[in-house]
Symmetry: C2
């Protein structure tokens, strides 16, 4: 039996259509309790008479409230107020936990990853930083690039804003390929654009590694790459380094044990020791990989910053067995937060990698790629590289000069002048973890050997000193403080009983 109610509807008077205003009035009547949960409403016809509007207007208001969950019914049945109101169910401030069990979910996590180490070194509040891997952000030609960005954005309405090729923006890939062919001697490879080289390494790990597989890595290396391999369930097999980089005989032993499915190599500037892998070793390592049918991932993160006139070409430039995956990035050439990296891979794994990347991040931002393509076309890209190569060489020399002061003052410092890159590997003669702490207390950031060592916590005597992000005067001032810190650790050790 229809309960015909007498109740007050307060209909707001504003410019909106009347059905929306009537819906507001009804919603408010329900929220205020004037209409109760499950209560039956007058018919739309009757409400229309009450409100002096057409019946269709009331029906439209009721439809609105049904869709929002305040009313039930309609279509020849009378409307009722919902038994559970949206406000009750979805307003988190209403106490409802009792009715639904206050217990929060106990999550089962199938993978664990530590906090990234790099994050700590990005901490603020330092005066000088030798943290490596970051170019001098002050020297990038932002105005030039802003113009390229604006031009690229103008193409967004005509398709560039939509979904694109998961492998990357074709016009960017074309420019990049030409550049890589000319400068890095890379030919016959397929390019896949990634979010930094990190996504490239993660992708390769996902495609090639399963739990229990091993990855041969340099015993001092790049922990985020290791994390990518571990995330695929792989174990790491550390291979010995010496002053020339990875020792082929040590790799041979690792390979002979089987289950190594991938070799990770920083051939151009070994990370973190900066050494360039000599040609004979490259040849030997390539032969070992080819004979064992184990692919190599060659991480070439700062190729252009090399101060010799003819840098050795990457392993990927001569890869008859098609086993080298080349990973690189524009993070050092441009700046890290761009997130533009790439893989240059043999044809056989190109499509599987592209399909997998589509599942992970779909694609890179297209107009950023287009902007870089324009920047390459304009000549700005190579102009910037030439400038930075000169700047970084001056900075390397400034750092070497500053350290020489310490050596002359009697500190047992040792280093090889790096042929290129953005960092110097310093043997400071004392526990470099202690030096790092002493330097931090003086507001100078450095990274100790232990950050890069596979075996974990063993302290070493080396520091990785990034010289790219500071000017020569900054490098000298920072190095002076660092030398104090080293001297202080040495003095503390000397006075210890």
């Amino acid at each position: 039996m229809a309960a015909v109610l007498d109740f007050h509807l307060s209909i707001p008077r504003d410019g909106r259509p009347s059905y929306l205003r009537i819906a507001d009035g009804l919603r408010q009547a329900i929220q205020s309790g004037r209409l109760e949960p499950s209560e039956r409403l007058p018919s739309c016809r009757r409400l229309a008479v009450m409100l002096g509007v057409h019946r269709h207007t009331v029906t439209a208001a009721a439809d609105e409230l049904v869709a929002e969950g305040w009313l039930k019914g309609g279509e020849r049945r009378a409307h009722r107020v919902a038994a559970v109101l949206p406000s009750e169910f979805f307003n988190a401030r209403v106490g409802h936990t009792a009715s639904r069990g206050a217990k929060t979910l106990r999550w089962r996590l199938v993978r664990e990853a530590g906090a990234p180490k790099g994050a700590a070194s990005a901490a603020r509040g330092h005066r000088y930083t030798f943290a490596g891997g970051v170019p001098d952000l002050r020297l990038f030609p932002y105005d030039e690039f802003r113009t390229c960005l604006a031009q690229a954005l103008r193409r967004a309405p005509r398709g560039l804003g939509g979904y694109g090729d998961p492998a990357g923006h074709p016009e960017f890939i074309q420019r990049l390929s030409l550049y890589l062919r000319r400068v890095r001697v890379l030919t016959g490879r397929r390019i896949l654009v990634t979010h930094g080289s990190q996504e490239g390494m993660f992708l390769v790990a996902q495609l090639l590694l399963r739990p229990g597989d091993k990855v041969a890595v340099e015993e001092l290396g790049f922990p985020p790459a290791w994390d990518a391999f571990r995330a695929a369930g792989a174990e790491l097999a550390p291979v010995r380094l010496d002053a020339s980089g990875m020792v082929p005989e040590a790799l041979e032993v690792a390979l002979s044990k089987g289950s190594v499915r991938l070799i990770y190599l920083t051939s151009h500037h070994q990370y973190p020791t900066t050494v360039t892998l000599p040609i004979e070793r490259r040849q030997r390592i390539y032969e070992l990989a080819s004979r064992s049918a184990v692919p190599i991932i060659e991480d070439d993160y700062d190729h252009e910053f090399h101060f010799r006139s003819h840098p050795i070409a990457p392993l990927a430039s001569n890869d008859p067995s098609e086993l080298v995956i080349y990973a690189s990035t524009l993070s050092k050439i441009m700046f890290p937060s761009m997130r533009l990296g790439f893989l240059a891979v043999p044809e056989a794994i190109y499509h599987p990698l592209v399909n997998l990347r589509a599942i992970i991040t779909r694609q890179n931002n297209t107009f950023l790629q287009d902007a870089v393509a324009r920047w390459i076309d304009s000549g700005g890209f190579e102009r910037h590289l030439r400038r930075m190569r000169r700047v970084y060489q001056e900075r390397r020399d400034a750092l070497v000069d500053a350290l020489s002061v310490g050596r002359r003052a009697g500190l047992a410092l040792d280093w090889s002048v790096p042929d290129g890159g953005m960092a110097l590997w310093l043997d400071c003669g004392v526990n470099s973890d202690a030096v790092t702490r002493e330097a931090a207390a003086r507001k100078v950031l450095v990274n100790p050997e232990s950050h890069y060592r596979f075996a974990g916590t063993r302290p070493g005597t080396h520091l990785r000193l990034g010289y790219a992000s500071q000017t020569p005067p900054e490098l000298r001032a920072g190095a002076d403080i660092l030398l104090e810190a080293i001297a202080s650790v040495r003095a503390a050790r000397a006075t210890r009983p």
Copy 2:
């Protein structure tokens, strides 16, 4: 015994330091064969006399060539030409395959992924497109956003260009949180910025799923999400849909079988059928998930484009058991190639997700996030949303009108007018795979039901018609052709014996 050779060095005369010019001359002598592999060089002292330069200049030239791999020796030993020349080893045009085994690597791939389905529908050469999921790229306020980008880029030299927080740019997260609280009723959640919602779903799958686990999914759904779950080794358990969305009783059956570890839900606008999940079902599904301790990933990909005045809030807005992972994106609000998505998650899984994301892509582009934060601050973000909501509602109505013409002309068409979103789910009464082919022949792009059906190839009678990217005249013209295609398939069926 030292072989003292008489050979011609051709030293280029240009502005470079003499050691580099001498290195060039020696390199050229080696490359041309005037100096042979392993051949011993005159001493630096002797070469200096021959060339009339200081001995140190020759030493520097020789050091250069040792570093490049052309020479061996030095440091008190005589220099020899390297046994294997860089040109021989690294010039891919030289025939060397015989010596290193011509066999190319046979790759072992541990994961396989098909080509993404969406890619096909992005194909060019159409006159009209009803492919869903893409906003109208012509209507985005690029000029406004370009200004924000330029402002953000100005901050790059002061840190924004470097490595940042893997969880996202704090200033963007703050603006986004405020917006989500106000518009989507989301509170008490941690935000993690991702490359589209795709990376969010991939991350969640990596963190929560292991091989053999099951994910309950709507039987018609979003294949890229399914791919992300499968990439973690999970199997899919399809749950029945009806005209109101996921059927809770069917979910209950799926959960009762155990091994379901995640529920994937498109509650706001079911993908692809566009239905809004009613409140009672939300409550029931939430209770089932809570009781079974199974988390829900709620994919809310186009929340703002809803034409009712008070859309139902997401499940994540009232989550006492803290089991809802909310995934969303700016791809529909801005444009897809931005690659800005986010997760809004319970505290318990925030840090594990951030640590994992650092391994996959490190972080999103920071200045893009900063630009969007500025765009939100300027009011442009919400102004654009308000405008697009109105535009899309008009377009929905235009499409409905155009389809009504076909219904009046006697085609067995059926649909529910969607409350929001960017697409309409049309029952065209005949095999929609055939209609898709007929439409494609007429240069009109549509996506058939089979694209979204878990069970794979079974043809259905539905089409998903995206109406967001075309103007009303375009929609009418496209719909006319589509109706022709439907009529043509119906006629072919009628005349078949």
